[in-house]
C-alpha cells in the first residue's frame, strides 16, 4: 500500500493524521507480538478513541477489501495480532479509560486498552480486585485478555477471563456496534458474549467490557517449597488436590528456571534443587493455618528440602516477584525462547513432564519449565538460537512432540495463549474435521468477509500433511 493510497487519507479523516502510522520504521514496532519468531508488517496502524471511529474504520476496510486486525498491548504469545496478509492494525492503546467503577454491584466498565493491572490498582483501596492475573498483567490489555480468554496463576481457584466478563460492546465485522450481555449475570438467548471471549479477535473488535470485581480476601498464606525432583513436586500437586484443598495458586519452577532466576535476581534458591513450588491459600483467615499445616505435611511426605512461609505482605510479594520475574531471566539461558503452552489432566503431570525431558534430550534442545501446576497448565520454555537453522528445525519438531504428548494425555494444545498463527497446524491433534467445520461455520456468521484478522486458528491442507494425517 502506498502512502498516497486513498485509504490512508480516509483513515486520517476518521482519527486525525497524527493518529495514523505509515512510515516503515514506526510500522516495524507492530510487526509481531511476544512470539517474536512470527513477523508480518502491517500497511498502516490507526489509533481510534471511540467505537464510532472503529466502526468507520471497519466500514472503510470493507469498502476497500483490506484486512483489519485489533491490537491491544502486543504481549500475545501466539501471533494473534499479526497482519499476515498486510492491512490495517487498529491499535486500542488510546481507548484506555476505566469508564465506571460500581463497587456496590462489584463490577466495572472499561475500554479495551485498559491495562489489566490498572483495574486492580483503581479498586484496591475499596478492597476489591480484578481476578484474572496473567503474568503479563503489568502490560497486557483487558481487550487482549478477552480475545485470548487469558488466565493466570490464580485461575486455579477463580477461573479464566470468561468467568469474569458480564457484558461486551463490540464493533462487528460489518461496522455495526452491538452489545452482548450487560450489567446483569444473564440475558436471554444464546450467550454471544461467551462465544466472543476467546475468539482471538476474529469476530469483531471489543470496544467496551463490563467485568466483575472481587472482594479482596481477608488473608493469604503463601508457601514456597524446595524439592529434590520434579516428580516429588508433581506428586505434591496431586496430593493437595486429592486432600480437598483448592489453593488460590499452585505454581512450579524446575531446576533450569530456578538457576536462571537465582543468577539474575539472587532470591536465595539452592542452585541444585530439582523444583520449587509456590502454593498460595487465600480467603478467610480462620482455618487457613490448618490448611497450611496440611500442605506442609504433604511437602514433607514428598522429600521437601526446605519450606518458606511468607511472613508478611512484603514477603509474599517477593515470592511472587521471583515467579513472575522468571520470564525476564531466560535471556541468560539462550538467545531465543518459545513459551509453549499446553494442558494435561493434573494426574498426568509427572508422566508428561518426564516425556518432555525425553523430547529435550532426543533433539538436544534445552527445555525449562515454569507453569500453573495446579491447573495442569504447562509452559515448557524451549531455548534456542534463531540464527542456527538446524536448531530451528529441531525446535519445530520439539513443539510438535510436546503438543502431541499433551493431546495424547487427554489434554489440549493451549491453555491460555491461544492458537493464533503459532498453533494452527496442531489443531487437528485435538479437533476432528467435523469439529473444525462447526467452528468455521460460526466464524462465517461473525466474519463472513473474512477480513477481520485473517489467517489464524484454522489448519490448512499443509497442516494435515505436517502431522502425517
Amino acid at each position: 500500500m502506498k502512502e498516497n493510497d486513498p485509504l490512508i487519507s480516509e483513515l486520517a479523516n476518521i482519527v486525525g493524521s497524527e493518529h495514523v502510522i505509515t512510515d516503515p520504521t514506526s510500522l516495524s514496532v507492530y510487526e509481531c507480538d511476544g512470539a517474536t519468531v512470527f513477523k508480518a508488517l502491517p500497511d498502516v496502524v490507526v489509533f481510534p478513541t471511540t467505537p464510532q471511529e472503529i466502526s468507520a474504520i471497519v466500514k472503510l476496510a470493507n469498502k476497500h477489501n483490506v484486512p483489519f486486525v485489533a491490537r491491544g498491548a502486543g504481549t500475545g504469545l501466539s501471533g494473534g495480532m499479526l497482519t499476515v496478509n498486510g492491512g490495517i492494525i487498529i491499535a486500542l492503546n488510546r481507548m484506555n479509560r476505566i469508564l465506571e467503577i460500581d463497587i456496590a454491584n462489584q463490577q466495572a466498565v472499561v475500554e479495551p486498552g485498559v491495562v489489566n493491572l490498572w483495574l486492580t490498582q483503581a479498586v484496591q483501596d475499596d478492597g476489591y480486585y480484578y481476578a484474572p492475573d496473567p503474568s503479563s498483567q503489568q502490560a497486557c490489555s483487558i481487550g487482549g485478555n478477552i480475545a485470548e480468554n487469558s488466565g493466570g496463576p490464580h485461575t486455579l481457584k477463580y477461573g479464566v477471563t470468561s468467568n469474569h466478563v458480564l457484558g461486551l460492546e463490540v464493533v462487528l465485522t460489518d461496522g455495526e456496534i452491538v452489545e452482548f450481555g450487560g450489567a446483569v449475570e444473564e440475558t436471554p438467548g444464546y450467550d454471544i458474549r461467551g462465544v466472543m471471549i476467546g475468539s482471538e479477535g476474529t469476530f469483531g473488535i471489543v470496544t467496551k467490557a463490563v467485568v466483575r470485581l472481587l472482594r479482596k480476601p481477608e488473608g493469604y498464606q503463601t508457601l514456597l517449597g524446595v524439592f529434590e525432583t520434579i516428580d516429588d513436586a508433581s506428586n505434591v500437586v496431586s496430593s493437595i488436590i486429592a486432600q480437598g484443598i483448592i489453593p488460590a495458586a499452585l505454581e512450579m519452577m524446575d531446576h533450569f528456571v530456578i538457576k536462571a532466576v537465582e543468577e539474575a535476581f539472587h532470591w536465595g534458591f539452592p542452585l541444585d534443587a530439582g523444583a520449587v513450588l509456590i502454593v498460595e491459600l487465600d480467603g478467610i483467615k480462620a482455618g487457613m493455618q490448618g490448611q497450611a499445616e496440611q500442605i506442609t505435611e504433604i511437602f514433607n511426605e514428598n522429600n521437601c528440602r526446605e519450606t518458606r512461609y511468607a511472613k508478611d505482605e512484603e514477603d509474599r510479594q517477593q515470592i511472587w516477584k521471583s515467579r513472575k520475574s522468571a520470564f525476564g531471566s531466560f535471556g541468560r539461558l539462550a538467545p531465543n525462547y518459545i513459551t509453549q503452552d499446553g494442558v494435561v489432566p493434573r494426574t498426568q503431570l509427572p508422566k508428561v513432564l518426564r516425556r518432555i525431558a525425553e523430547i529435550s534430550e532426543k533433539y538436544d534442545i534445552p527445555i525449562a519449565n515454569v507453569f500453573h501446576a495446579g491447573d495442569g497448565n504447562i509452559h515448557p520454555i524451549v531455548l534456542f538460537d534463531e540464527r542456527d537453522e538446524d536448531q530451528c528445525e529441531r525446535v519445530e519438531a520439539v513443539n510438535m512432540e510436546i503438543l502431541r504428548a499433551c493431546a495424547e494425555a487427554g489434554g489440549t494444545i493451549t491453555g491460555e495463549h491461544g492458537i493464533g498463527v503459532e498453533k494452527m497446524d496442531y489443531m487437528p491433534l485435538i479437533f476432528s474435521p467435523e469439529d473444525l467445520a462447526v467452528m468455521a461455520t460460526v466464524k462465517d456468521i461473525f466474519n463472513p468477509s473474512g477480513l477481520c484478522n485473517p489467517g489464524k486458528i484454522f489448519p490448512t491442507a499443509e497442516s494435515y500433511a505436517k502431522l502425517g494425517l
Binding site: 462489584q106 462487528l172 446483569v184 449475570e185 438467548g189 454471544i192 460460526v442
Partner: protein
Amino acid sequence: MSNSNQLHENLVQIVDEAGLLPEDQLSRYAIDDINPQAVVLPRSTHEIQEVLSYAADSALSVIPAGGGTKLGVGNPPDKVDLVLSTSRLDQVLEYEPGDLTVTVEAGIRLAALQAKLAEHGQYLPLDPPYADRCTIGGITATNASGPSRFRYGSARDRVLGMRVVQSSGTVIKSGGKVVKNVAGYDLNKLYLGSFGTLGVITEVSLKLQPLPEIERTILLTFNDVSETVNVASEISGSQLLPTSLNLFVNGVPLTDSPEPCLLIGLDGPSETVEWQIDAVKTVAQQNGAIGVELYEGQRQQELQGAMCAFPQVGAGTPTVVCRANLRMTDVSGFINTALEANESAPWRMRATGLMGSGVVYLVFSEFSNGDVPVEHTAEAIANLREAATNVGGNLIVESAPTALKRQIDVWGSVGRSFELMKSIKTKLDPIGLLNIGRFVGGI
C-alpha cells in the same frame, strides 16, 4: 395402518420397544398441553443419529429432553412430534478423582452423579431446582443453577467440554476435558443455555469441587425488606464467603414465618465456618434482625433443598414462575415494586432474591378462583418486565399455563443481537429440526 402405528413401528426399528415410552405415558412429556406423537429414549449416539435422520426425512420436529423438568420453558410450540430424551444415556464415562473432573453421558441424573462423586469426597457444586430428577444434559442445555451460584457459579462456569449430535447427525466435540483450554472457539458457550435448539448434547465434561468439611445455614428474620437487603449487602461486600445468600419475602421454605428473611449458606473447614457464623450473627444483631437461627444436619439439608426447590412447580396446582436478572443493587427495589403491585391481586406472590447474583424468582400461586386469570396476570408480568428492563435487567417467564404464554413472549426482547442469534440457529440447524419456534424471537 394408522399414521401413529406407522411411526411407532419405524421408531421401534431404531430404538426397540424399550426405547419408546408407552403411549399412555406420553402426557408426562406434554408441552403446553400438546402430547408428543412419541417419546424416544435412545441408548447410544448411533441411535440418536438414526432418530434425527428419520425425523428429518419424515418432516417431524424433535424436542431434545433430559429428565423433562424444564421442558416447559419456552414459547408454546406449534406442534410436538418427537421428544428425544437422553435419560437412558446415563453412564459416568471417565472419572479420575485426582483430576477433579468428570466426563458423563448427558442423561445421568444429578443426584446419581453426586452419589458417585461423594464416594471420593467430591461433588458438582450446582444446585438447580428438581435436583433429584434433572439430568446433566438438561442442566447444560438450560445453564441451570441454584442458590450456591453465588460462590460456585452456574453450569457455564463448570462445563469444560461436550459432545453434541447436530441435526445433520454429525457428532462434534466442543471444548475438552481439562480445566483450562483456549484452543479454537469456545463453542461450549453456544450450547450452554441453548435449550436444545442447536443440537442434542450427549456427553459433558465438568469441573468438580471437594466436598466441604461442614455445611451450615443461618436463617435471619427481619421486620422489613429494606433491613434484610441491608444485611445482605453488608455481607456480600464483606470478606465473608457464603455459598448462598437468599432473600425471601412472603413465605420462607419449611418455616411459616411471614416476615422477610435471609437464608445464608456456609460451607468449608469447620474453623472457617464457625468464624463466619459468629460474624453473620454480629452483623445481624447490629442491623435489627428479630430472629437468628442456625441449622445443621438433616434440618439444614432440608432447608437448603427447599431453598433450591423454590421455583419448582407443583403438579396440578396452577403456578406462574418468573425469573428476573438484575444488578444486585436493583434487587430490593424490584422486589418492593413487585410486592406493591401484587398486594391486592387475586393470587399470592412469593419472591426470593439471590442477593449475590441478582437473580430474583417470583412465584405466583393460590389464584383466588382456582385458575390463572390470563389477562390480569399477563398485564402484571408486562409491568414487572418493564420494571426489570428499566434498570437494565430482564425478565423470563419460566413456567406458566399455555393460555397465558400465548399472551406474552416468555423470553422478552433480546435487542439487536437477535440477528446474530437467528443466523446461529439457521446455520447450525439448517433443516430446522430442533425445538422450533420456542426460543427467543421464535428461534
